[in-house]
């Protein structure tokens, strides 16, 4: 447990000192939202209806960029090799990387949801508490799969180009279910409707984390 926290802490300290990944991700995401909102035109109704979709599309692509960068950092100076030599289980390494990636993705979602509240619809600000859960659970599944596949993509010739090709089709269930939850909150369809999608989303998250814990050792093995 202490090793896990130390691993997460290490990544977060690096990020806090450089602020490289979160800044880049957030800027890309903000740009994407601005383009979305310009492309959708002046119709307030259309913009509000498209908001949840725009948020998730933006978050997925920006988070994919961030994940690719986070794994590229492990490659530089052979940081990952150093970690592999420590007496820490591979699954702890995976969970540590996952935790740090999750923290960054949550920050990204906060930025995007905030920007969407301004640019798209005030509903995002009004329902912030209800939206937090489907978005955060979506982030868990996304980073669980993204950390495993990011480690693969970083070791190939195509690197950051390969990651979206591998990751985005795999996380389609996460995106659909999280969006179902977001829509249930925004349209005020009540708690049972929200819980129905969240239960399934939680199950998907658990499956992705278990896959990562099981398979990460094979990915980083030399």
């Amino acid at each position: 447990m202490r090793a896990l926290l130390a691993l997460i802490w290490k990544d977060l300290v690096i990020e806090a000192r450089t602020r490289e990944i979160v800044t880049a991700m957030s800027l890309v995401a903000f740009l994407a939202l601005v383009i979305f909102s310009l492309a959708l035109g002046p119709s307030a109704h259309l913009v509000a209806a498209a908001a949840p979709a725009a948020v998730w599309v933006t978050v997925s692509f920006a988070a994919t960029l961030g994940l690719a960068r986070a794994h590229a950092l492990e490659q530089e100076g052979q940081a990952l090799r150093g970690l592999l030599m420590t007496p820490v289980g591979r699954h702890i390494l995976y969970l540590g990387k996952c935790g740090a990636n999750l923290a960054m993705m949550l920050v990204l979602q906060l930025v995007v949801a905030g920007a969407a509240a301004v640019l798209f619809t005030g509903a995002f600000a009004r329902h912030w508490a209800g939206l937090a859960l489907p978005l955060a659970l979506g982030a868990v599944g996304f980073t669980a799969a993204g950390t495993l596949l990011g480690a693969i993509a970083a070791e190939t010739r195509l690197r950051e180009v390969l990651l979206p090709i591998l990751l985005l089709p795999v996380v389609v269930p996460v995106i659909i279910l999280s969006l179902a939850g977001v829509n249930a909150v925004l349209e005020e369809r009540g708690l049972p409707e929200l819980l129905r999608s969240l239960k399934l989303l939680g199950a998907v998250d658990i499956i992705f984390v278990m896959l990562g814990v099981w398979l990460f050792a094979y990915v980083v093995e030399d």
Partner: protein, 223 residues
């Protein structure tokens, strides 16, 4: 090094394919509502099932590779996934050809269609991964891991895709076609023919994969 078993398998699948074509075009009666276009189902459905089986085969090979570390399993996975992508491409094309006259649209977000499209995208990604992953043991490990993740993902995509359907009105209730006995026979013949064809293709592709690995090993020694 073509073995007699392969020759027998290839000829067997040829004969079965001819029988299946006869079944689809002559033996099976014309469907009353959809007309002749329904006959595409005798190709589409077996392809869809066997395409799915092929991806399961690739996933199974991935598990075996990670367990044993034997190179042959990597070749099995590559062969199965490649043919799976070919078959599922045909599934999507034949499905669209059928949907256009019957549903009036090339494409709709029905859960089965979504699942097949995502499955196809995942294994196209698998092929890109293989071509980008560099040297042999690492490529095999990555491919095995991704084949497993991709296949485990399929039921999740299907479950979540039903949410899309719950949100938008259901216009089509697909695949609720009662089959007359001759139609069932034609479908069965198609299933046998495409299964044999898959197995014949698979064995050929597997042999090619093993030869490729040998050539690569020999070239490595020459350096």
């Amino acid at each position: 090094m073509v073995r007699s078993a392969d020759v027998a398998l290839a000829s067997g699948s040829c004969v079965a394919m001819l029988l299946a074509l006869y079944g689809a075009f002559v033996f099976a009666p014309t469907e009353r509502v959809m007309g002749d276009v329904q006959r595409i189902f005798y190709v589409h459905l077996p392809l869809a099932w066997i395409g799915f089986v092929a991806f399961g085969h690739a996933c199974w090979a991935g598990i075996q590779y990670l367990r044993t570390g034997r190179r042959e399993w990597d070749a099995v996975g590559a062969a199965a996934a490649e043919i799976g992508v070919l078959f599922s491409t045909l599934v999507i094309v034949t499905g669209s050809l059928w949907a256009r006259p019957v549903w009036g649209t090339w494409w709709t977000w029905d859960p089965q269609l979504v699942t097949y499209l995502i499955l196809w995208l995942i294994y196209v990604g698998y092929l890109v991964l293989r071509s980008a992953a560099g040297d042999d043991p690492r490529r095999a490990r990555f491919a095995a891991v991704f084949a497993i993740v991709g296949f485990v993902d399929v039921p999740l995509v299907w479950l979540s895709a039903r949410y899309l359907r719950a949100l938008s009105p259901v216009i089509f209730t697909s695949r609720s076609i009662g089959l007359a006995p001759p139609m069932a026979w034609a479908l069965g013949a198609g299933l046998v023919a495409w299964s044999l064809f898959y197995w014949a293709l698979f064995r050929t592709r597997l042999r090619l994969g093993v030869l490729e690995a040998e050539v690569a090993a020999l070239a490595g020694e020459g350096d």
